[in-house]
Symmetry: C2
Subunit: 406 residues, 2 copies
Amino acid sequence: MIHIAVLGYGTVGSGVVEVINTNHSSINKKAGEEINIKYVLDLRDFEGDPIQEKIVHDFNIILNDPEVKIVVEVMGGLEPAYTYTKQCLLAGKSVCTSNKELVAKHGAELLELAKERNINYLFEASCGGGIPIIRPLNSSLTADEIDEIAGILNGTTNYMLTKMATEGREYDDVLKEAQEKGYAERNPAADVEGYDACRKIAILSSLAFGRQVDFEDIYTEGITNITAADFKYAREMGKAIKLLGFSKKAGESFYAMVAPVLVDPTDPLYSVNGVFNAIFVHGNVLGDAMFYGRGAGKLPTASAVVSDVIDEAKHLHRSIMAFWSSHKLELTDISNSQRSFFVRAAGSLEEERARVEEIFGSVHFIRIPELEGEFGFTTGIMTEAEYAVRAERLGSVISRIRIRSI
Amino acid sequence: MIHIAVLGYGTVGSGVVEVINTNHSSINKKAGEEINIKYVLDLRDFEGDPIQEKIVHDFNIILNDPEVKIVVEVMGGLEPAYTYTKQCLLAGKSVCTSNKELVAKHGAELLELAKERNINYLFEASCGGGIPIIRPLNSSLTADEIDEIAGILNGTTNYMLTKMATEGREYDDVLKEAQEKGYAERNPAADVEGYDACRKIAILSSLAFGRQVDFEDIYTEGITNITAADFKYAREMGKAIKLLGFSKKAGESFYAMVAPVLVDPTDPLYSVNGVFNAIFVHGNVLGDAMFYGRGAGKLPTASAVVSDVIDEAKHLHRSIMAFWSSHKLELTDISNSQRSFFVRAAGSLEEERARVEEIFGSVHFIRIPELEGEFGFTTGIMTEAEYAVRAERLGSVISRIRIRSI
């Protein structure tokens, strides 16, 4: 029997308990031993709930119990999760987590601690919820050198963008609905400003490229400026607008970014709708691959956490995770990265056509009859810096959205 | 240094050599040791090609060399691949393969042989080419009980169906083009009759359900009867026609099938086009997940094979694959499985409407003006047996295509 402890009995923590109870026999068979939840750490009591007999309020009970071999950290946030995780690893206990903030900030250090002790720090649930992506990157796509990752990594914003696309509604309106349905927090900044996606693409990039990518270095733009009018143009162009976290190897340098992006129907990310997430990976020999599933939610996330518990139970004294070097990967400024842009400009297309073409060269114009006093166009491929200079010269840009090239 | 041998220098075999050469340093880093190709078994010689110095014509040189720890079987077909694989495993050499015929037929036995010796028999490339699916099923989706798998498992037929859908062309015409482009064999039966997809869904089902699913037991229907007219109806209904291999747990029993199926735009399989493959998996706690990528091709397939080589190099004396029991999983007859159907019937809709509704209950009619003397309708959900009885009673059925329910 392998004893485990769960830190935090919130949504994910209670999901972990539920998954272990529900699929008890198949989980034990796959782990090779019975998994027993010995403790659940929470500040609260749950009188009348069978979990109460496992509840402890003092982390040291778990830390000091040599029977506990695996600790599930599903508290979220940096502290006390960081301190607890470190103490567990130093005490020789494997840890698994859904905590993206912690993995993004201290992943390199915690992985190294685990490796030194031949134990494991696993975090399948930190990116893409239930979607298997960390383990495939670690142990399936090993023959490849990964040169691009692009993901729809936040279910809340994808739900909102899907609503805006299909129902023609405005941002504020769908945000309010998402909040009422419990998909978005009362303070939605982590989702809508792209901070959540930023941490996830930092983790995926660190793992794929083998060196620490600091999330603070990633250019991040949320969806707060996307409007119903943008979707009118998108529909006319036959494209979807998705909030993507992406990173790319360009020559010998790497860049990473979070931003709303126009994607084409031939792109596998195009039809990822609602609360679903998907992660696109390009390998130098594999070509394109994509992993799709539920990026959030109690049970899908718990499914990923429990798969880590099983892997740690099977490898109690063997480190299975490739660690990434804490030596930082310097990202290049995105101003050198190249793409085409969709631009909305004020004025009359008839009067402005020549000037736009003079500044941007050959473009494709789009006009939406009901949007008076403006027009849209898509540019050829240019660097972000070149775009900025030309947009400045044009002077009448209302907004621009990047276009994904595949 | 770990010495390996490659059996067969055909498309996949030469791809394996190319991938190992191309990504040499990252592969060695991930394997933890240098991977050296010591022998390549082939009947032919390759004078002038650097591979020639590794070519051997006698399998026993490989079998009897104790330095060779890993053997890559990429010969295809049952014999001599089966005999060679068995001999290698008995000699304590791990084997990895892309050979779906062999895995479908003898997988249970070969896995058990490997397990007894603490070595490995891996076959990531046998299903879905470069798509990581075997390893995720084995080590990622472990917290779940899988109750459904559905895959676009054959790139040739998906290419053909995509062409028929987008260009309105007839089956014979796109088959000829696929043959000219080298996507389809001169004898295309393995692809177009669904035999290839059948073996792949047998392997995936055996692994997901833990017991041997015999491919001979799987109801298999190919795409040879799909016509341009079917696609006219599909377009009118807003659906796509895909050749799916699928298996499902229904109550305590399981069924499996290969057939062309109408899929809805909300289905993640809907937008998997061209030579791409995708495998949809439903877990009881995870919900929906999908794995997408290149299902065939030299380098994507070789990428999957080499990921197995790396895993075997990392686990020279440790069996990492869940084996499935050779105890056969009895599939229930598909006549009890339930779904709705799209039916094309001869005659005039005006004259037949009442009789169709009398026999099938509430249906949805579809008429394509240019298709005279026939009409289409979609039924409610019923068993295959019920459908057969009613179709018999109607008497005027031209064809029927199953509709996937999600």
